[in-house]
């Protein structure tokens, strides 16, 4: 009996073996590259940095996590989460009517155009878009100019003099950072919401009308609950993407650090890997909680 034949007999008698062999590479990939890296990260966060020599002390300690609760670090986390939440809510509010139109009214070439319009920003470079926004929002940029031409400079000034979110110009304020975030991540909200709305059966809406529901009632009791998983799925994207981004706030904003920037600086320049790792665990925890919540709302049925 040749080896090949013997081999195929073996696989015939033990079908599980073949499956295992086929699955081994992807499992190893996920196990080592993905989960292994995460575990290494987690491990690092339990080390600490000796403040004096700047050397990493490889002993188990919770000191690094303690540092997360220092005021400036708590502020970084609060700032990032607030921004992510604001961006997510705004994206949902803007995306819903757009998706609704696309899913229920657009037909044929209009629909193709719609897809193109939503996807097109994703094709161009992220950096180019962010730099373009910096110019648009600049003190001597087009928005200030238009406000001046329309004699609305006072309104812009009033907006910018709002405490906390204001600043010397739109591009040096939280308002600017927020606008750019919303612009950049909006497509990631529109697409899942639209997918969810497409699946709302038309006959349910007609039935609601037949039974005497006003359009408002139909929307509230039929469409919205059925589309909600799509909104939650979209919010997972916008929320987690905002939570981790470190480039937008560096180009447009007032230099107050977000989690991503803190991680970048701590691991890159300072060699403070433990604190950087501890910072990375924060968005992971937040997203874990968020995903658990989303799962209960049935968000993953719409993916």
């Amino acid at each position: 009996m040749t080896a090949t034949v013997r081999g195929s007999y073996l696989f015939y008698r033990r079908p599980g073996l073949l499956t295992l062999l086929l699955l081994a590479p992807p499992i190893l990939w996920i196990g080592i590259v993905y989960i292994g890296a995460l575990l290494a990260l987690l491990l690092q966060s339990f080390y600490s940095l000796d403040d004096f020599s700047g050397v990493i002390v490889r002993e188990f300690t919770l000191k690094t996590y303690g540092e997360l609760f220092e005021r400036s670090n708590i502020e970084i986390i609060g700032r990032t989460v607030t921004m992510a939440a604001a961006v997510t809510v705004t994206s949902a509010v803007i995306a819903f009517p757009i998706s609704y139109f696309a899913a229920r009214y657009a037909r044929g070439s209009t629909k193709a155009m719609f897809y193109l319009a939503v996807m097109m920003p994703l094709w161009s470079s992220y950096l180019v878009k962010v730099y373009a926004w910096k110019l648009i929002l600049a003190k001597e940029g087009i928005i200030t100019w238009i406000a001046g031409e329309l004699h609305l400079a006072w309104a812009l000034d009033a907006l910018l003099s709002t405490p906390v979110i204001g600043g010397p110009s739109l591009s040096i304020s939280y308002i600017g950072t927020y606008l750019v975030f919303v612009y950049i991540w909006l497509p990631y909200m529109i697409l899942p919401v639209q997918a969810a709305l497409e699946r709302v059966p038309g006959n349910l809406i007609e039935a609601a009308a037949d039974l005497g529901a006003t359009p408002k009632q139909t929307f509230r009791t039929v469409i919205l609950p059925l589309a909600l998983p799509g909104v939650v799925a979209g919010s997972i994207f916008t929320f987690s993407l905002t939570l981790g981004d470190y480039i937008i706030p560096q180009i447009v904003g007032n230099s107050r650090a977000f989690i991503g920037q803190a991680v970048y600086t701590l691991q890159g320049n300072a060699g403070n890997i433990p604190l950087a790792a501890a910072f990375t665990v924060v968005p992971m925890l937040i997203m874990g909680l968020y995903l658990a919540m989303a799962k209960r709302l049935g968000a993953f049925d719409a993916l």
């Binding site: 003190k139 591009s171 300072a270």
Partner: protein
Amino acid sequence: MRVFKTTLISLAAIAATGGIAAAQEMMKEIGKGEGQVDIVAWPGYIERGQSDKAYDWVTEFEKSTGCKVTVKTAATSDEMVTLMNQGGFDLVTASGDASLRLVAGKKVQPINIDLVPNWKNVDDRLKNAPWHTVDGVHYGTPYQWGPNVLAYNTNVFKEAPKSWSVVFEEQNLPDGKSNKGRVQAYYGAIYIADAALYLMRKKPELGIKNPYELNKDQYAAAIDLLKAQRALVGRYWGDAAVQVDDFKNEGVVASASWPYQVNLLQADKRPIASTIPEEGATGWADTTMMHASAAHPNCAYLWLNHSLEPKVQGDVAAWFGSVPAVPAACKGDELLTDTGCETNGYANFDKIWFWRTPIGKCEAEGTCVPYSQWAKDYIAVQGQ
């Protein structure tokens, strides 16, 4: 038994260091080129005419030596150190905050300057600079240097500002308006040294001897100064392109900057000039260093020599906005022109404190605040 173990370990340690020491031997002669040399460099440091035909100092080297040059650009000093630790490269253009780390980590080898005929061209001020010379041994050849200048708007300042105070303390600028929201500071924590440099003169009672070596009190004073500065600064700059744009569109009129941005702004006909105030300035100085186990040592030596040709030095300086390590490059270079060196800061060498990584054990104070602390606190300063 325990004694035996310890002896074994120390023997192993001796053997290990011995091995490294052997690898650290200087080369005695240059053999035939290996046909290749791999370099880690700052973007813009090694050009082969791809960005602009006039700026090419590689093609001719490849033709005359037969060594093909490959370049891997790195964006930060840390990236350079990481790449060198991984190995696979022959040379690196390391700044002062990376060079000593490389020497301490035994990642670079001593350079036999007798094998680099152009060493005689090197600026005397750089020949024994502490960021590449350890115990009288050279670990590389100087490449380029430059100051962190004070860039200012000439419409606002009819005369160059005399002190860094225009960016550190709230005051009315010569145009009568406050400097609040119109100045910038550097995004990296190494900028704490700029604050310390300002305090060296402003508050002599602190006794700061070296802005990279600060004890607790001196450090606290620098942080306090930077906290007050936060109210004046709209945005910190980390990206040269962002700063150029902020000078153009955000009404920034004064900031710590590099000659690179100033040259760009002047080329664009903006009313920007630069100066080095009376307190002096921080700066950077880069060294071409050779990997301890370079695979192409002969070509590497040939490049070291080539990199010190006046023509190469002048062209790099013109492209990068830096000062050449070879004074002869300042005369007669077409691209740099005869005023280029002066513009980029040639005469200010003595006023400059070159970048170094602040470490816990230091000469000036015994124990100093290390860089990891700088980084953490500077994030807090910016966030307040």
